[in-house]
């Protein structure tokens, strides 16, 4: 086994193009992020967002509750100013307000552009609506539990307040660096696919040669998994180190958490790559295409490209967020660095580990007695 590992390691690290895409490309990308966002506001506390509030005519319970919700946030995350609609629109167009909250029968939000600030305002509105909906449901179906529900919301509020007091504030640009690290971790899929194709007789002469040896398929596949994970983990840790110590981006200060998440991120990407690579019916090009799809599409669903996507999915189909490796991975980073929610982070890591075992098991079952239609 050590013999195989040694040579597999040499094959990969001596291949310049593989190492460029797996190690150097994410670092270069990180450099561009750092230059684009500028180093000035990195690691600093988030600015309070100026927000206009327009009170619609009429007095309703919804309006009163929403206004009190906004007032509670006033000064911490947002700075609200009640205005007439015309004045508010003027302020919005003049960039004097990041958005307009409408307090009426149905709370609403108007923004003039998209960006981190607007995403935060939208998240606030979504959170309010979600909680309001929950309270309504509890009142309707389990009125006896209204107190417990209110307490739960209080807990949430307290937690967020404690985090703020504890100084664990989120630089809006950090999310880009988390996305970058998650992308780098997931891009290990290509290593898995390529390695698997080098073990398949129908895709390469080397694969044919390996297939006819007496080395057990499980041994071969485990060996590939261990070596590739180690290399990918090293690559991701190098990137994380550069982000933390060269770009001076505060990733939350939980070294153990970062190590664990990066390790599980590397494991899931390699095992997914091996799984895709094991499907013998597809050509190498098709497999690489699937690799790209499985790197970018889950990333898109996890909000690595469009910030609010993950929240939308959480509202409409939360199960996707539980099984989407990119979402689980990014959620783990947030649990560690922003929410400080160790239990949720551990649950995420367990999900990743289970998915990883499942992928490896399926891959082994697929390739263990494989014969090809044509070579």
């Amino acid at each position: 086994m050590l013999h195989l590992m040694k040579y597999q390691f040499l094959q990969i690290v001596r291949e310049w193009s593989t190492m460029f895409w797996a190690l150097f490309f994410p670092i270069i990308l990180g450099g561009f992020f750092y230059i684009s966002f500028g180093s000035g506001n990195m690691g600093e506390d988030m600015e309070v967002l100026k927000t206009a509030v327009v009170e619609e005519e009429g007095e309703t319970l919804e309006k009163t509750v929403f206004l009190s919700f906004l007032e509670e946030l006033d000064g911490d995350m947002i700075e609200i100013e009640v205005m007439e609609e015309e004045e508010a629109l003027r302020a919005l167009n003049a960039d004097e307000a990041e958005g307009i909250f409408y307090a009426g029968r149905e709370p609403g939000l108007t923004v003039a552009k998209s960006g981190m600030e607007q995403s935060i305002l939208k998240t606030l509105l979504d959170t309010y609506q979600k909680n309001a909906e929950m309270i309504k449901t509890v009142v309707k179906e389990h009125p006896e539990k209204i107190e417990a529900a209110t307490l739960a919301l209080e807990d949430w509020k307290e937690t967020t307040e404690e985090l703020s007091v504890g100084g664990r504030t989120l630089d809006p640009n950090i999310s880009y660096f988390f996305a970058l690290i998650a992308y780098a971790a997931l891009s290990g899929m290509y290593l898995g696919i390529k390695e698997c194709c080098q073990s398949q007789a129908n895709l390469s002469a080397l694969g044919a040669r390996k297939s006819i040896t007496p080395t057990h398929k499980l041994k071969l596949i485990l060996n590939s998994f261990l070596i590739l994970t180690a290399i990918q983990f090293f690559n991701v840790m190098v990137l994380t180190g550069i982000v933390q110590f060269v770009f001076h981006i505060d990733l939350g200060g939980n070294a153990g958490g970062i190590l664990l998440i990066n390790l599980l991120g590397s494991m899931i990407s390699i095992s997914l790559g091996i799984l895709i690579g094991s499907i013998s019916k597809l050509s190498l090009g098709m497999k690489m295409g699937f690799g790209t799809l499985f790197t970018l599409f889950p990333g898109f669903l996890a909000g690595l490209m469009f910030g609010n996507m993950k929240n939308l999915i959480e509202q409409h189909c939360p199960v996707i967020n539980r099984i989407n490796p990119a979402a689980v991975l990014s959620d783990s980073y947030y649990c560690m660095a922003v929410y400080n929610d160790t239990a949720r982070m551990n649950r995420n890591l367990l999900i990743l580990a289970a998915m990883c075992v499942l992928c490896m098991l399926i891959s082994f079952l697929v390739i263990r007695r494989e014969r090809y239609d044509s070579i």
């Binding site: 080397l206 044919a208 040669r209 057990h216 014969r371 090809y372 044509s374 070579i375």
Partner: protein
Amino acid sequence: MVTITNLVKRYGSLVALDHLNLEIEEGEIYGLLGPNGSGKTTAINCMLAILKYDKGGIRIMGEEMRPDSYEVKKNIGVVMQNVAVFEQMSVWENVDYFCGLYVTDKKRRRELVEEAVRFVGLEDYRKMRPKKLSGGLLRRLNIACGIAHKPKLIIMDEPTVAVDPQSRNKILEGILELNRQGTTIIYTSHYMEEVEQICTKISIMDHGRVLASGTKEELKGMIKTGETITIEAVVLDEEQIAEIRELPHVFQVTYEEQVLKIRLSGAKHNLVRILHYLEEREISFGRVFSELPTLNDVFLEITGKELRD
């Protein structure tokens, strides 16, 4: 050692192996001779359990060959038609890697790798990467990777394709040496001279079928041709060609671009008779030579086409 029974492999409507039967005994150098596309490599891939087949059975060393027949695979070495080595590793590392897939004992493996590198004459290239090797040396490395673990059965699929004569001779000598050491060898080629030179038993294949099997002498004995006489730079008319066709023991005459080729059944004084005829007619001619039947003649008579076509 190897028994293939009624093996059928289809690619859609194309029948690549058509009820192929082979029986290969221990200690033989068994040649599979046939033109490109005759089914030699397909048969090898089925034998190695990497290619699905539609019908039939394959037994190697008494066991049915399956993808997880790991014990049988330990005793098989394969030299693939395409060079299969790692570009990122040196000659020594490549041989060591592949040998390590069969032999786990480090000390034993080192000895075997050294022996294999010496055997193919790559001692001076140990540290070189494959891309710096010539085509011939690369083929030799390919062989070393396939045989380093000293298997009982070696399958060589056209190992001399695109190899210079010097390397080819070295490879053929090596195969004979391996056989002398007790290894059974299955050797596929479309070069009849090679097969004739080294193989103790030969099967001639075409369209996925074995057309004839036996030793080279047995194969040549199966055909009518006993001798082929070629006369160069000779000018003949139709009447003279017809007269030659009527000479005793002549059964085929071809005349193209002043080259006359006469196939005759085995008999004494064939050449004298032909030369006497030309002298009598005062026909001038250039070089004359007589050849005993080759495997190409066997193939030609059986299939009606040249092996090289």
